[in-house]
């Protein structure tokens, strides 16, 4: 909590409906965000029980600088992922960090399970468990609307909720946050579904005066000017991440049709430029961000044959255009938006959904599965079939879709086709086939995301491939991002928040940190995550790479499977060395 030397944790038990607040001085050395959340997950986890056992915890935490400085907008969620069977870590923007901060909580620990559908309302002096039986079955946008209408606090409120996919325990169900933001990856929606927790509404309405305003405001203005007056962030507002389609497609790094191709012949039809011309209607920002990188696209839909049209708005960014675009061979921006709308309503992770369907499409073509199982003729470019299949996944229509709802790794274990089940550590791949960095990065990353260490970005910046340098950069970046995610900055702004800026920012609000402290915090958090992963049964030596990665050339050329395993081994050794120091 700002100006206090403790972390204020709200504990909620859905089984007993008990609530308590603790001021944890011992968590202060973890700064906030992912540091605090990791430690809380570690101490509340029940490794002997199933990942979705009611006793398992879900942690939400804001960072040490949340909403106090520009672009520090994220809330982290940590849990036991039903998708990968190990560390669950996901981030969302929107208003949640601001409301938690102004409600006076640094972190929330939710344990237990309700006997009937429930939603929770949280404010600075009240927490209530409320009946959500009437909400069960509603889509993410419907339940958002109903909670908005029932609960006070508009403008200072954040509402997070699950859709039917979460209720039905789809392993990659997401949690929708406010408007167009999500805890997207690794199945937090299913974990909340297992607790019968449909929604949480948080109202933050405290007034928090800033001490030493002059010092604080000087730092704030420097950061604000860097964000708004330089080109570091403007690209995220102007074109946003959809700009990536064009260079990745031109360079042969755009995963296409389940990565059978690295170039999409219709890439120009789903490029950022095309979306900007045809579909973009507005841009939005998370609270506390002057950039506004959330791109909203619109498509027209006929209510029914011969009737009027409605205009449907959804947010889009690069990963969605990849997963529900090139990866499925979708040839128009309107169709990509249609697919995004379906996953949004049902509450699914768009990336996993697209990649899972890519596997299913190829598995059907190779006769590993049948039309009797898929019920619709899955084929690259067939948007209508994919829309139906996404609904079947969310509702687990039959045995096949129940298995598909557990991810591409699980489906390929049962039906075959592991060599083209495009996962890293059982998490469906992100949209970069840029080189060894894009392969090793998410494989060794604590949560198997491209965001763990930005391997794809290292591929781009390395002039010449060097094994030692790549491994060292990944390792260093993984630790650095643990520190950044304890603040919690939006990673788009990581070039704004260099070490000097971070120290100036935190020390202007009464921290007394040095560069060495930040190093230590990053390493402390990374070690905590690794301990949790070990408790969950993860062993870095047991991971596998899908063969397809080495068949389809990357942006850096053909990749060699042996080199990939060598790099993996090198990284694992670095981890072992670091952990051995801790044990000693």
């Amino acid at each position: 909590m700002i100006y206090e030397k403790y972390i204020r944790v709200l504990y909620l038990d859905l089984t007993t409906k008990k609530i308590r607040i603790e001021h944890r001085k011992d968590l202060y050395s973890y700064l906030g965000g992912v540091g605090v959340a990791s430690k809380l997950l570690e101490e509340n986890l029940k490794p002997e029980l199933d990942p979705m056992d009611p006793q398992q915890p879900v942690i939400f935490a804001i960072g040490a600088a949340s909403t106090i400085f520009p672009v520090v907008t994220k809330t982290v969620a940590m849990f036991w992922s039903p998708l990968t069977g190990e560390l669950g870590e996901s981030y969302a923007g929107g208003r949640m960090a601001m409301t938690l901060f102004l409600a006076g909580y640094d972190a929330i620990v939710i344990t237990g399970s309700s006997s009937k559908p429930t939603y929770i309302t949280i404010s600075r002096n009240n927490v209530e468990f409320k009946d959500a039986r009437a909400f069960w079955g509603l889509s993410c946008d419907e339940v958002g609307r109903v909670v908005r209408e029932r609960e006070p606090g508009g403008g200072k409120r954040s509402i997070i909720r699950i859709g039917p996919a979460g209720e039905n325990l789809v392993s990659y169900a997401c949690v929708c946050v406010d408007t167009y933001r999500h805890f997207g990856r690794l199945g937090l929606g299913a974990v909340l579904g297992s607790k019968k927790l449909k929604a949480i509404s948080i109202v933050g309405d405290r007034d928090l005066p800033i001490k030493n305003f002059k010092d604080y405001f000087k730092v704030y203005q420097e950061i604000y000017n860097k964000v708004t007056d330089t080109s570091i962030m403007s690209k995220y507002h102007d074109a946003g991440t959809p700009v990536n389609i064009e260079p990745l497609n031109a360079a042969g790094g755009l995963p296409t049709k389940n990565l059978r191709q690295n170039v999409f012949e219709h890439g120009d039809k789903i490029s950022g430029e095309t979306f900007a011309h045809k579909n973009l209607v507005r841009k939005m920002a998370c609270t506390g961000c002057p950039v506004g990188c959330i791109h909203i696209g619109q498509f027209r839909r006929e209510f029914d044959k011969g009737h009027e049209y409605e205009a449907v708005s959804v947010s889009y960014d690069y990963e969605l255009l990849f997963a529900l675009g090139s990866f499925l061979g979708i040839k128009s921006s309107d169709e990509v938006l249609q697919l995004i709308e379906v996953v949004e309503k049902l509450g699914l992770d768009a990336m996993s959904t697209g990649v899972v369907l890519g596997w299913a499409t190829e598995a059907l073509a190779k006769n590993l599965i049948t039309l009797e199982q898929t019920l619709v003729p899955l084929a690259f470019g067939n948007t209508q079939a994919y829309i139906t299949a996404i609904e079947y996944i969310a509702y687990k229509k039959n045995e096949f879709y129940s298995i598909l709802a557990q991810g591409a790794e699980k489906a390929s274990e049962i039906y075959g086709g592991k060599e083209f089940a495009m996962t890293f550590g059982k998490n469906e791949m992100p949209g970069y086939h840029t080189g060894y960095g894009s392969v090793i990065g998410p494989t060794v990353g604590a949560r198997h995301s491209h965001l763990c260490n930005g391997g794809y970005s290292i591929d781009q910046s390395m002039k010449e491939f060097d094994k030692e340098k790549l491994v060292e950069k990944l390792f260093k970046e993984e630790k650095e991002r643990c520190m950044l995610n304890s603040l919690i900055i939006c990673l788009f702004a990581r070039k704004v928040y260099d070490r000097e800026t971070i120290l100036a920012a935190l020390n202007s609000i009464d921290y007394n940190l040095t560069n060495e402290d930040l190093d230590a915090i990053g390493e402390r958090i990374y070690k905590t995550k690794l301990r949790i992963k070990k408790m969950m049964g993860y062993d870095g030596k047991n991971v596998r790479f899908p063969k397809r990665l080495f068949e389809t050339p990357s942006m850096s050329g053909q990749l060699d499977e042996k080199v990939a395993y060598e790099l993996l081994d090198m990284y694992n050794k670095k981890v072992e060395e670091m952990m051995a120091k801790e044990d000693a």
Binding site: S231, K235, D238, E246, P247, A250, T434, G454
Partner: protein
């Protein structure tokens, strides 16, 4: 000698909104030099192609080469 520079829509803000430029150069000039002299900052350049092929930044241009500059890949 004459070369041609194509700038995608997301980099045209650096070239006064021009997307197709005809440039006269004298002597040996590299692809990167031409792109930089057109106004695209180094940190915004992802990679460069000449006549459809990805080239190193020190590629020396020839008459009528068509250069295309792509933005860096962005994200978290």
């Amino acid at each position: 000698m004459k070369v041609y520079l194509e700038v995608g829509s997301f980099l045209k803000r650096f070239t006064s909104e021009q997307t197709n430029l005809e440039i006269n150069i004298s002597g040996d000039k590299t692809a990167a030099e031409v792109v930089l002299s057109a106004g695209v900052p180094e940190e915004e350049i992802g990679f460069i192609t000449v006549n459809g092929q990805k080239v190193d930044s020190d590629y020396v241009l020839k008459e009528n080469d068509i250069i295309r500059v792509y933005p860096i890949i962005v994200g978290g």
